[in-house]
Amino acid sequence: MRKKSMLERIRRFGRSAIDVLAVLGRSFLFLLHSLVGRSGTGGGFQLLVRQLYSVGVLSLAIIVVSGVFIGMVLALQGFSILTKYGSEQAVGQMVALTLLRELGPVVTALLFAGRAGSALTAEIGNMKSTEQLSSLEMIGVDPLKYIVAPRLWAGFISLPLLALIFSVVGIWGGSWVAVDWLGVYEGSFWANMQNSVSFTDDVLNGVIKSLVFAFVVTWIAVFQGYDCEPTSEGISRATTKTVVYASLAVLGLDFILTALMFGDF
């Protein structure tokens, strides 16, 4: 009896491993078919512009607002700690480095997953459940090229730009708190920042991070929508999965990328 249940447990473990592998395989094929090969239909650029609007422009508000606030909080916290050591001039460099290396790419990716990622999943899932995807297929248009590919590209392009904007408004918010409110000398605020921030090591590494996040978050979002069960519960489950998986992937990848970029090995 006990032996059998043990065997059963192993079987179930194997079963779920196979399921995970199957999903991974499907999602790779999905990505491959979406991005590689002829599109067959014109108007790709128009479609991309439309998606850039709904994925990028519509996420701008939340990114700018959270960027300003996070920059302001960083400046406040940094000031209260640094002032104990008499080096409150370093608040500028602290805000800039934190934003460029970590918070810019990571927080933007998390907000993007919540705002644009879930919307993408729900939109595609809805198209699937109302048979619009099937309908496209039967009209002879590949939904992977027509629906999925523009959304993937829009995500790849939007997220790094949003992360850059996030960092800039964050630094601006930080400078506003530190310089105008807490009275840090403006010259040393910026000079300290410029001395310690390197374009290649900090700014570009941040951009590389957000490119990786963009790829992963958009991929997860679009695939979850495309692969969801075409019912209302299926769509809501897929939307939740998008946010959870994308957030976990971003945080996990962030650790790996940080170790590779700043870990000195």
């Binding site: 619009q132 099937s134 297929e137 009209i139 002879g140 590949d142």
Partner: protein
């Protein structure tokens, strides 16, 4: 062109499985060219699956699906998309593109598959919408249409490229009698006027029987019977009779398989 010119679609020995459960077992179906063929059967017997097999949206485990002289399961992904241009499908929900208005919905297949000028596309779209009686609705968005109107617009879109084969997935479900009457008339009209081969998948007996030239009854993963509506009405096969007459009990039992009622009630809890 085709293996046998009298038939537009031929399924030969098709087996389809979902997981380990087999939905169809070695099914042969031949759809005559230029006629209205009904595919009927109880809900959940895989009628829509059959339609998807014909449109090659699903791949059979074994067997051949011949449409217009091509064995669909053997085609490559891009050849398949080309082959589908000669098929039109009317989905159950209409499946209009929600971000496009009625005009653009009907114009969509023309825009992606032809190089026609805007005026030409406009003319064709108006003609197709006139055929379904909705030329006045070109500026409406899909969510402003009633269910019946959505299906008619979808029908106009399905015939935009003048397909040879038109498939209807449960066209009568959830329609009021007027909309139903309109659809029945449209299906017959389009079939006769354009010489299209029509395939109607439905479980609505009266409507399907009234327009179909030939009917297949499917169930339990196989073809239970075939013939003209009159032939089927007079069939001795008890399963077909139960379906055609709508008897609650028969070979398809009223009760879902369960242990003995008495034993279940009196047995240990």
């Amino acid at each position: 062109m085709s293996v046998d010119n009298a038939y537009a679609v031929e399924l030969k020995g098709v087996t389809f499985k979902r997981g380990s459960r087999s939905i169809f077992n070695n099914v042969d179906i031949r759809i005559p060219r230029g006629k209205v063929t009904g595919i009927m059967g109880p809900s959940g017997c895989g009628k829509t699956t059959l339609l998807r097999l014909m449109g090659a949206q699903l791949r059979p485990a074994s067997g051949e699906v011949w449409v217009a002289g091509q064995n669909l399961p053997t085609l490559s992904r891009s050849d398949l998309f080309d082959a589908r241009k000669q098929m039109g499908v009317l989905f159950q929900s209409g499946a209009l593109f929600t971000d496009l208005d009625v005009f653009e919905n009907v114009a969509f297949p023309l825009r992606v598959h032809t190089q026609l000028s805007d005026e030409m596309i406009r003319d064709i779209v108006l003609m197709k919408l006139q055929a379904v009686g909705l030329r006045g609705a070109i500026e409406l968005m899909p969510d402003e249409l009633s269910g019946g109107m959505k299906r008619r617009v979808a029908l106009a879109r399905a015939i935009a490229l003048d397909p040879q084969i038109l498939m209807y997935d449960e066209p009568f479900v959830g329609q009021d009698p007027i909309a139903m009457g309109v659809l029945v008339r449209l299906i017959r009209l389009l079939n006769d006027a354009l010489g299209i081969t029509s395939i109607v998948v439905s479980h609505d007996l009266a409507e399907t029987a009234s327009i179909a030239d030939y009917i297949y009854v499917v169930g339990d993963g196989q073809v239970l019977g075939q013939g003209t509506p009159e032939e089927l009405m007079g069939s001795d096969n008890p399963r077909i009779r139960q379906f055609m007459k709508g008897d609650p009990d028969g070979p398809v039992p009223f009760h879902f398989p369960a242990p003995d009622y008495r034993a279940d009630l009196l047995g240990k809890r």
